[in-house]
Symmetry: C2
Subunit: 227 residues, 2 copies
């Protein structure tokens, strides 16, 4: 859900079933169904998803390349586990690089992208207004941020940035959502949409930077919202 877009930015194109499995595993990881450090067995997943081991294997390899699972030669894959320092560093890097991607992307956004941003924003606000479902919100938020990364204009920068950002979906699950920060994030998203509509990359960059920084120092304790 929300990751069902065929080609995000990297080279996701593999097969048909393979992509389904990948998407499934991705959402399961992001929704916290798999604990950090939990081993992922090919055969078990294959049975569960009603497919062969091959596409599962492919998906795990892909997740491994993206840094979402660790694989050891003859032992298989397990969900990454982060130390507090890792998480902090991750946010630090994000705060530095994502705004840049944002600035680069804004002038390149088409009407389609803008519409999607608005749609995602609206859906997130709807969730916040009603009953909170953190998992679903995480997915939408990822999609929201992904748009800027994907459209930054340089394939390899996009790949590199996604390598940085994707692991965050693992850490995020372990935090609660506090209403105050959440509201602030929603406002930031709205402002991002506005800046994007205005085609003002620098504005968007600034908003994105403050958006991320605002979540950084609360990292760990009371709970960061979706950034």
């Amino acid at each position: 859900m929300a990751q069902e877009r065929a080609g995000e930015a990297g080279e996701p194109a593999t097969g048909d079933v393979s992509d389904r499995v990948y998407a499934e595993l991705l959402t399961r990881i992001s929704e916290g169904e798999f604990a950090a450090g939990e081993r992922l067995f090919e055969q078990a997943l294959a049975r569960q998803l009603g497919v062969s081991r091959t596409p599962v294997r492919d998906a795990l390899k892909r997740l491994s390349a993206e840094g979402l699972v660790d694989t050891t030669p003859n032992k298989g894959a397990q969900v990454v586990s982060f130390t507090a320092e890792d998480t902090a560093a991750l946010y630090e890097l994000r705060a530095q690089f994502e705004p840049v991607a944002c600035r680069l992307a804004v002038p390149r956004l088409g009407e389609e992208d803008l519409a999607e941003l608005e749609d995602l924003d609206a859906r997130m606000q709807a969730i916040v207004a009603g009953g909170h479902d953190p998992a679903e919100l995480t997915g939408l938020n990822n999609a929201f941020h992904a748009i800027f990364v994907e459209r930054c204009g340089n394939r390899h920068l996009a790949i590199a940035l996604q390598a940085l950002f994707r692991p965050a979906i693992v850490t995020r699950t372990f935090r609660q959502y506090d209403p105050r920060s959440l509201e602030r994030s929603m406002q930031a998203h709205q402002q991002l949409v506005e800046a994007a509509r205005a085609g003002d990359g620098e504005w968007a960059e600034a908003v994105m930077r403050s958006h991320i920084l605002s979540t950084r120092h609360v990292t760990g304790h009371p709970g960061t919202p979706d950034d």
Copy 2:
């Protein structure tokens, strides 16, 4: 040849044969044996390397995730081809980020790493002094730069940076080596080793930045040396 280190930084660990195939394809691509845009057929490569299609498939997927080959759903993989703008942007990003990684890495380098840096530097100088073999030099240079990236202290930053840098090995093959820039690069490498020995991250950062920038503006024409 220089890529034979088991685990670079990302999650390379797969199998035994699989890694061999990956390394082989990587060097072939970097040495320009495969033209840009050339299709890579699984079966053909499998026959050539005396293995099954499976490890070849794995290796191609890995290269795809790293942005070295493009894959289309039912068509397979082909070597990436860059526009001039892509290459320029790549160097731009490199100039921004690699020095940072370098600064972070230097304080973390152990005696072993320093020795390897010196060794690589020495071997590159030997090649320059004798008959030039650009291909071999490229491999050594990649290994040299990789050390800084790998030791930067953050796994995910390392992955992200490698996503940026690895594609450069494709573009580099298409340039000639001009003695003047080459000499300058060698000096930069030496200075990097010195800075690393001194544990001076900022110095190393500055050297690395100028090192990369010195190669940037000649990109395309007369030929950049190995950066």
